[in-house]
Symmetry: C2
Subunit: 406 residues, 2 copies
């Protein structure tokens, strides 16, 4: 008898008929003798609708109240699934975040899980209940309702699976697994059977929107095997597991891209200690996340400094950049929001040289100019012109032998 | 500086514009220097919509889950009001039932309040917060969400007012007070300036749908002055207060009626000890509330026994009655669901004779036949044919001098 945590996203619980489908899947696993904990998102569109309602009042609704408001979405689906399961003759109970003892910090709207008590879940499982937990929510030490940020139900699921030492955490979603590239732009993309936590982390942060990054961090930390699969088919999806689990090391696992960045270059910055702090402190202070930072040495004690920011923050970052440039006597600030990032990821890179050069030569052979480069141990990312990004993904996918063979 | 609890019902918070009106009323009182706690219902129709959703799954959704589902309605309005108050520059915080420490028993769907901690509310008030509490809900000792039954937000409000020793509990509703009779059927009905808890209790149970009965019981027990008034006007409503508060004693305060009852008579029941128990035990066992019971002595050791039940339970009660009649050798069971109850209520009755005879003669003068009579210290009720009830209300209203004088 295994203990399985199953998480269903918003499109999987979009109406009563779909919640019934969820119930059938849950029962199938339960009837096989497994203990089952189900984590649910709100119905697709409900959370956005609630945010919209609050924004009709003010552009900046207080986050504590917004969390209390948004938490109703998962409360609704959890209660409905419990009622369906009961009506089918099964013992079931819904739990809200605070009832499942999902304790978080008090960063409303983007809270982090501190720990999970899970005593109540364990007692219910011992009595063969199907436990339905409202995802996305927890409560802080004062008992305020908190939410875990976009995609937070993934994190709820993995964290609860970790607390229960579950055998597997299944993430049911509207795609059937993790692909070597976005199938919408790369028709040769293949579904991966397995991927490591580290690769998934890189790919999640690089634009593969399958799992919330934090849920992968949790899964890695507590070594919870995660199975990403489709709500609408019985097919096996992709297992996200630790590298140690005897997995064949691919050199490159996937090619990802991200279009929502912009590039800013400060020209002829005086190359003095403390200059970087002068530039990035006000940007951080404005709540803007800088992704890449590249500094080229120039002659005459001057340097060019380039960095990327989310495209939504581009205008604001440019304003800050211009004002800092004046202060530190930099020559000019230029910006470009027509860029995109293309990345190749794979744990196999650690032990293989030549991945970077293959990436650069592949892009060159397609006449794609590389604007910026950054790397990690298992990833290489290039900034290119936005118009080239789909072509770049396809070329790299072929070059690294990822295309499916019919 | 007074401490005022204000409760707004579903029609008063039906949409964002109406919740803004609530905010304005709250702020007005707060700006006068009062400490304000607001109790909200769900938006009109929302609770019924959620019940309907659950009933699409099964006719008998489990009550624990239904409570968790329904509680989202008040959670939503409370958060929205807090956001509106904050957007207007006021310190405000919403609290759910469990956060406001509204502790109940575990009778899901119709829970009773055991006690209210209110520490958190007190701390917020000390810091001059406007506290917005989700009405209708609490939590049991295990932390399950419970609801307090139809109109439960009234009880939330009065119970919280009692726990805080508030100066007044204002119930804002879509009527502007308590009337001497239903203005829809009696055009001469007057709004009462004051009414005692006991009169309100009788009138609430007799069909005046202004306040949930339990809320009045709470108000009486803890001597919380309740002000029933309109959300949509500034006019004073009706004060519900204790008898001791130097109030002029009217002989009759109001005339009420109720149409949702039915009458069952068992004929020629053997007049033996234990017979009543044999009849009413299975009826109680079926969850049917019996209202009046009247027994007439007959000759030959036999009696006729008549009782009333809610009209919804009439068929079921008739079936039980017939089976019991066979068992105890009663002659016959006859039923009538075309009846109604008309009542006159007033604390002044305690010290005035002649109220009953005036009631009977008034009905007689209109040729209305009285089918059953029951009385309490401050009330006389007559069962009449349903078709006569409006006429009975108007005749009694005039006879007891309640008609308004222009």
């Amino acid at each position: 008898m295994a203990l399985i945590v199953k998480k269903f996203g918003g499109t999987s619980v979009g109406n009563l008929a779909k919640i019934r489908n969820v119930a059938n899947r849950v029962i199938k696993s339960y009837d096989q003798g497994n203990n089952v904990v189900v984590i649910l998102s709100a119905m697709a569109g409900v959370t956005d609708g609630l945010i919209k309602l609050a924004k009709q009042i003010t552009d900046t609704p207080q986050k504590r109240e917004l969390d209390a408001l948004m938490a109703t979405g998962e409360q609704t689906t959890a209660a409905l699934l419990a009622i369906i399961l009961q009506s089918m003759g099964y013992k079931a109970q819904s739990l809200l975040g605070f009832q499942a003892e999902v304790r978080t910090d008090c960063a409303f709207g983007n809270a982090r899980i501190i720990d999970i008590g899970a005593n109540r879940i364990k007692t219910l499982l011992e009595n063969r209940y199907i436990v339905v937990v409202a995802g996305f929510q927890g409560s802080d030490l004062e008992g305020n309702i908190t939410t875990l940020g976009r995609g937070g139900s993934d994190t709820s699921a993995v964290a609860i699976a970790a607390a229960l030492k579950a055998d597997c955490c299944e993430i049911y979603t509207d795609v059937d697994g993790v692909y070597t590239a976005d199938p919408n732009i790369c028709k040769h993309a293949r579904k991966l059977e397995k991927i490591t936590f580290d690769e998934m982390l890189e790919m999640a942060s690089l634009g593969a929107k399958v799992l919330q990054i934090r849920s992968v961090e949790f899964a890695k930390k507590y070594d919870v095997p995660v199975h990403v699969r489709s709500s609408f088919s019985e097919e096996e999806g992709t297992m996200v597991i630790s590298e140690e689990n005897g997995m064949e090391r691919l050199i490159v696992t996937g090619v990802t891209y991200k279009k929502d960045e912009a590039r800013i270059t400060m020209k002829k910055v005086p190359d003095q200690p403390g200059i970087a702090a002068k530039i990035f402190t006000p940007i951080a202070g404005a709540g803007i996340n800088v992704d890449m930072i590249i500094q080229n040495t120039r002659q005459g004690g001057q340097t060019d400094l380039t960095f990327t920011v989310p495209r939504d923050d581009f205008k604001h970052a440019m304003e800050i950049g211009r004002s800092v440039a004046k202060e530190i006597s930099a020559e000019d600030v230029i910006g470009d929001d027509g860029i995109a990032k293309v990345s190749v990821t794979g744990v196999g890179m650690k032990n293989h040289s030549g991945v970077a050069s293959k990436m650069f030569s592949t892009l060159a052979s397609e006449n794609i100019n590389i604007l910026l480069i950054s790397t990690s141990e298992i990833r290489i990312s290039c900034i290119v012109a936005e118009k080239h990004v789909e072509l770049a993904v396809r070329a790299l996918h072929t070059a690294f032998g990822l295309d499916k063979t019919e």
